[in-house]
Amino acid sequence: MSKPSPLLILDHVSKEFVSGAGAGLVAVLRDVSLSMLPGESAAIVGPSGSGKSTLLNLIGTLDRPTRGRVRLDGEDLERMDDTRLAWVRNRKIGFVFQSHHLLPQCSVLENVLVPTLATDAPRDDSDPAARARRLLERVRLSDRLSHRPGQLSGGERQRVAVVRALINQPGLLLADEPTGALDRASAENLAQLLVELNREEKVALIVVTHSMRLANRMSRVFELADGVLTEPAASKQGGL
């Protein structure tokens, strides 16, 4: 049986920032390479300031690398203009932020449907609202459809954020410290949810986290330290 093509490839990616203090360039990521297969799950762990969020931003097209290439679903992100990148963010990637970033003025259902307004390109499903309801039911929020974020608990908000990230059936789900603002029980529930959805929706999952409990639930774990990404041998399953 032939191996499937990687969904995501980072090829010797580096990211440097200009220091405002006049100290020249600061290297946040150094020569990072990784690849992810469709449906795979991975965690990126590392100390604060190691560049985890920067790496996630590069993968999620929210930033561009200083050197190296990022390929998603066979396409080189470097060659894309801003319009194409926005489309990729909308259709191919789902984001879950630490602080949910739900729109306070919209209801739960409306928040989930916001990504569907970004582009008029043809969709795989003809009724995003039905999909939204189904997913919200899946995450046990079917009775909260008309509630505003201010009326939900922290865990409920994160679940809405997860559903929002999945509404356009992306191939890749990125979660930046998704449980960082939750209590232990809610964090555990959310972690379980992510794992289940990774399997059910067949969406590749990359989680940036401080929590080893969450990290160990992923099929692969990467460590990022001093800008260098490594994968302990025990977690290797495919890739380059």
């Binding site: 969020s53 931003n57 926005a86 990729v88 963010r89 909308n90 916001v114």
Partner: protein, 1100 residues
């Protein structure tokens, strides 16, 4: 879920933060709507006034001095099946019984019940009793008269013969009437009746038509016909229909023509009470009657052969049969009586001496020599009917009763002359050829005194033929579409909507900028939401579009609220126009009118400009990196830099150098060119000053000053954090204060040096206008003697007289668009030799050095050169130099006045001037002079004014200093500028509110930082001082740059001797803005720093 749903959600959720932006949009929209409604109100008020003054009148026929039968009104009414009222309209003066109060330029109207039926509302009386007078409110107020009071009116008697005509009597031209006030009528009851459009009401006195016509010797005659039917909207009676009816109904006597039988049945004769037959009448009479014979009979001072003289006789110029058909131009046929008196024989030379009347009734005695061709066999056979009906002669019993208008030396009249008169009256004593007579005595009134038709009878058939061959319009009997002209004048009036939009411009800009600022602040607080949307795949333009939709909704709601606010704003502006800004409109009668279309247009315009402003505020949204937007705190070092310091330095230096160069090169500012240069220099200083502030802020943002760190330095350096925001505040305050202060440079100065010919007074000390024509020459000894003016009281005084053809005031004091401006006739050389007034513009192709002589230019067929004041031409008439205006002369011929030049800012505003000889050619019946520009020696002006006013009291002469007249005109523009400054000041105040908002925003963004300062030991009041000084620095910089630049811009005005810049109001405006800025800044600082600042540290 749609994008509009998302926008609506955002609008509702963030309603509190949008409230400020909503208010800004509402204010901007309100001012816009309000300005347009002011325009509607002025137009509507003028239309109301027009309809009130005309009532149901659609068309009018005004024949002035030519009187027609009152019965003509009834005949036309029957023909048109409408209401036609005859009126006798005469100029007059009015005084109270004890002469305490006086009113000149009174319109005295003899009316009957038909007149009142044309009013919008019927008056409370059915008729005006003989001996009574009804006043309009304005005249009653002027005279402080009420029903029962006694008044004396002096009314000009209409004369068939112009007072300028030869042999026109000079006595007894006024009729004095003592009348009791019966009632005072309001505007809606025809109190405001006038044929001319003006928002200034006339002074009207109404008498019974029968009473007035009999008292002025015009029994059963009228000179004005009013015809109409409805009170509302457009006319129902057309000029065409009225003129068609007139053609069918008029009779020869309506044109003051008379067809009489020649004695001994020898045919018919056409003559006129006006003595000289109008040329169009003569032309029509000859065209239809080849055998018609023209006759011209004249009064000569003497006929002389050697030392034998026959004084004061009639001589007739005619053809056969009175003279041989081949009579030469230098030959004369004398009567037996004359031959005997002069001992004349055939072949002798007879010298005729006679007067001709020049301008200003200047008598010029001329003489002509003729050779006796033959002597008539019988004096008694000479046709006694050849003398026309000379008023002052015809009814005289003897020679000593003559009133010829010429000086008569009674000592020369012999007994035999008297006996001749008693026997033969004015039977001519000699005859010359018609061609010779026309050459000697033809004048602007006509060349014939009678036309005889030997083969026709003076019957109704021939009268009808003659009547049909003559165009009534050629006799001045023509209808004008009065209602149409009135409505056009009001609808084409000065657009106050646009004017107030201009005045309110800065207020609208300030409101919109405040709205944009507040909206942007609100959006900046939602950076996380923007980052989320970008992360979810929205493009920056999509995000801006979503936010713009919120903005459109805000603008729409603001626009709707603005409609209500606009109504209030308009009412406030109208109140201002009726009170403190009354100088701009001269009336308190402006009322509120607002069309639905105007409200909708204004609201839509408000929505559009608000939306555009929000769009501009959103331009930079979504451009920041998404991950920065998503981070919880603002990233380090996000000081917006805008242009580099090098660029702003360059701009600043360039502007300052050029400005300095302009000032140095120009030197002392003089005149208009100097003012423009300094205004340019001031503007450059403004730009340079703002650029210098930008440089200053840039330099503060650098790290070089770290070693000098103190609280005050910290305060000022904080202004560099949001440099664009700080600069916007400085720019708004600087531009606003510059605009408001420097606009004063355009104020018109009325204080001029007496005798300065180049000024708006033309160097004249006084300007006078009379109600009745002054026919004598005020500059001549004879003229002054006539009016009883003592020579020593008017030594050194010289007047330039002007003829006046009434029309509409085309000055800035008349809001209506003048359809037929007042025409003045002047001798160009009288102004040319004085070099009076400054010319603003001369028509292309004409020499600018000729100035007043341009009035003699040949401009085209049926065209006359005219000169007017530039402001009148441009604003009141809506024309420019080179354009032409159509007029109709006394004989119904259309001609054009071509504007060949304009004078700058002068007392001639409101009028168009043409050369006097062209004037009398077109309007021969307009007697005398009614306007005077008077030179008077320094120190004697007041005394001269008093003397002339008293001596010419009966003529209703009103005199005022030319400076005062100029001030009244200048007051209009100066009032407009004052309005701009006040409304602009309001805009600046709004700008200072914006400063308060900026303070709040800046502090909220830095709460954590301020909390840190508290934590490390700074006191709260020190922090307050830090924030306050940071923003007060912006306020001071903005106002300082604007004020200094403005001072440079207005330097020429400040240095002009006698200049009266409005220091008071400007100082008050600036101080108010400064105080407002301080108050808002202090208040915002207090608000922002209240509460537990340290909590912000925990959130960090």
């Amino acid at each position: 879920m749609t994008s509009w749903t998302l926008a609506l959600r955002g609008l509702v959720f963030y309603a509190r933060s949008h409230l400020g932006a909503l208010l800004g949009a509402a204010v901007g929209s309100a001012v816009l709507v309000g300005a347009l409604v002011v325009g509607d109100s002025v137009r509507g008020s003028l239309r109301e006034m027009a309809l009130a003054r005309l009532g149901k009148v659609d068309v009018a026929l005004a024949s002035n001095d030519r009187l027609f039968r009152q019965e003509l009104a009834r005949e036309l009414g029957a023909s048109l099946k409408g209401l036609v009222a005859p009126v006798l309209q005469l100029p007059g003066t009015a005084t109270t019984g004890n002469a305490d109060s006086r009113a000149n330029q009174v319109q005295v109207l003899g009316v009957d019940e038909r007149f009142w039926k044309l009013a919008k509302e019927a008056p409370g009386f059915s008729e005006i009793a003989p001996g009574s007078v009804v006043l309009n409110e304005q005249l009653a107020a002027r005279l402080e008269a009420k029903p029962g009071d006694s008044l004396v009116f002096r009314v000009r008697k209409p004369t068939a013969l112009s007072q300028d005509a030869p042999l026109s009597p000079s006595e007894d031209t006024l009729a004095a009437l003592r009348l009791t006030v019966q009632e005072v009528v309001s505007d809606s009851r025809f109190g405001r009746f006038s044929l001319h459009a003006s928002q200034l009401p006339p002074l009207n006195a109404y008498l019974s038509l029968a009473t007035l016509s009999s008292r002025v010797g015009a029994t059963n005659r009228a000179n004005l016909l009013l015809a109409g039917g409805t009170t509302d909207g457009d006319a129902t009676l057309s000029v065409g229909a009225a003129e068609e009816a007139l053609k069918q109904s008029w009779q020869l006597s309506d044109g003051e023509l008379r067809l009489i039988g020649v004695p001994d049945g020898k045919g018919a004769e056409l003559r006129t009470a006006r003595v000289f037959i109008d040329p169009p009448v003569a032309k029509a009479a000859f065209e239809g009657n080849p055998r018609a014979q023209g006759i011209l009979t004249y009064f000569v001072n003497e006929l002389r052969i050697g030392d034998r003289v026959t004084p004061y006789s009639m001589v007739t110029a005619a053809g056969a049969p009175w003279v041989p058909a081949d009579l030469g131009g230098d030959e004369i046929v004398v009567s037996r009586w004359l031959a005997e008196d002069l001992n004349a024989r055939v072949g002798d030379s007879i010298t005729l001496r006679y007067y001709v009347v020049g301008l200003r009734r200047k008598l010029e005695e001329r003489e002509s020599v003729f050779r006796v061709r033959s002597v008539l066999p019988d004096s008694e056979g000479v046709d006694a009917g050849l003398m026309p009906d000379f008023p002052g002669l015809t009814d005289a019993e003897n020679c000593r009763d003559w009133d010829t208008g010429f000086p008569i030396d009674l000592d020369r009249i012999r007994e035999k002359d008297n006996a001749y008169w008693e026997t033969y009256k004015g039977t001519p004593k000699a005859f010359i050829s018609l061609a010779a007579g026309k050459r000697l005595w033809g004048n602007r009134f006509g060349e014939l005194t009678a036309i005889r038709f030997p083969d026709r009878a003076a019957d109704a058939t021939f009268a009808g033929e003659l009547q049909r061959s003559i165009e009534p319009a050629s006799l001045g009997l023509r209808f004008e579409p009065i209602r149409e002209m009135a409505l056009a004048a009001s609808s084409e009036s000065q657009d106050f909507g646009q004017l107030f939009l201009g005045f309110s411009f800065f207020l609208i800009v300030a409101a919109l900028m405040l709205m944009g600022l507040l909206f942007r602040f609100g959006i900046e607080q939602r950076r996380g939401e923007i980052g989320t949307l970008l992360a979810l795949g929205f493009q920056p333009r999509q995000v801006r579009s979503l936010l713009l939709r919120e903005g459109i909704l805000i603008a729409t709601v603001g626009g709707a609220i603005g409609v209500l606010g606009g109504v209030l704003y308009a009412r406030a502006m109208l109140m201002g126009l009726a009170t403190v800004w009354k100088g701009a409109v001269g009336t308190t009668s402006l009322s509120y009118h607002a069309g639905g279309a105007t409200l909708v247009t204004g609201a839509l315009a408000g929505v559009v400009v608000a939306t555009l402003t929000i769009w501009m505020a959103l331009r930079t949204q979504g451009r920041q990196p998404t991950h920065q937007l998503l981070s919880e705190t603002a990233p380090e070092g996000t000081v917006d830099t805008g242009w580099s310091k090098q660029r702003t330095d360059l701009i600043s230096r360039l502007c300052l150098i050029v400005a300095a160069g302009l000032v140095v090169v120009k030197g002392k500012p003089e005149g208009a060119a100097g003012a423009e240069t300094f205004f340019l220099a001031g503007s450059l200083l403004l730009i340079g000053g703002i650029a210098q502030c930008a440089s200053f802020l840039s330099s503060l943002g650098g790290t070089d000053h770290a070693a000098k760190l103190a609280l005050v330095h910290l305060a000022v350096r904080n202004a560099t954090r949001r440099r664009q925001r700080s600069l916007a505040t400085i720019g708004l305050l600087a531009c606003g204060s510059f605009l408001i202060m420097s606009i004063g440079v355009f104020r018109l100065d009325s204080r001029v040096e007496q005798g300065d010919r180049s000024s708006g007074t033309g160097g004249f000390a006084l300007i006078g206008e009379s109600t009745h024509p002054v026919v004598q020459d005020l500059n001549s000894e004879a003229g002054r003697e006539w009016y009883g003016i003592e020579p020593d009281l008017v030594a050194g005084v010289e007047a330039v007289p002007l003829r006046v053809l009434e029309g509409e005031d085309a000055s800035c004091l008349n809001l209506n668009r003048a359809q037929k401006p007042r025409l003045l006739g002047v001798q160009p050389e009288l102004l040319q030799k004085r070099g009076a007034f400054t010319f603003a513009q001369v028509m292309e192709g004409l020499s600018s050095t000729n100035q007043w002589a341009l009035l003699n230019s040949e401009v085209g067929p049926d065209e006359v050169a005219g000169i007017g004041d530039q402001a009148s031409i441009q604003w009141a008439l809506g024309r420019k130099v080179g354009d032409a205006l159509a007029f109709t002369d006394e004989q119904g011929r259309e001609f054009k006045v071509r504007i060949v030049a304009s004078v700058a800012n002068s007392i001639l505003q409101g009028n168009l001037l043409i050369a006097e000889d062209r004037f009398v050619e077109r309007f021969p019946s307009t007697s005398g002079y009614r306007m005077f520009l008077i030179d008077a020696p320094n120190g004697k002006v007041e005394a001269v004014s008093k003397t002339l006013s008293q001596r010419l009291q009966d003529a209703g002469l009103e005199i005022e200093p030319t400076v005062r007249r100029l001030s009244a005109f200048n007051a209009v523009q100066n009032t407009y500028l004052g309005t701009f400054q006040i409304l602009g000041g309001l805009g600046l105040l709004l700008g200072s509110v914006g400063l308060g908002v900026v303070v709040l925003r800046n502090v909220l963004e830095r709460k954590g930082e301020l909390a840190l300062l508290l934590a490390v030991g700074f006191r709260r009041d020190a922090l307050g001082w830090c924030v306050l000084s940071e923003h007060l620095a912006l306020l001071v910089m903005g106002l300082g740059v604007g004020t200094v630049s403005a001072l440079i811009a207005v330097l020429p005005t400040l240095l002009t001797p006698g200049a009266q810049p409005p220091y008071g109001s400007l100082f008050v405006t600036l101080v108010t803005v400064l105080l407002s800025g301080v108050v808002w800044t202090w208040g915002a600082t207090k608000l922002a720093l209240r509460g537990r600042l340290l909590n912000a540290l925990r959130n960090e």
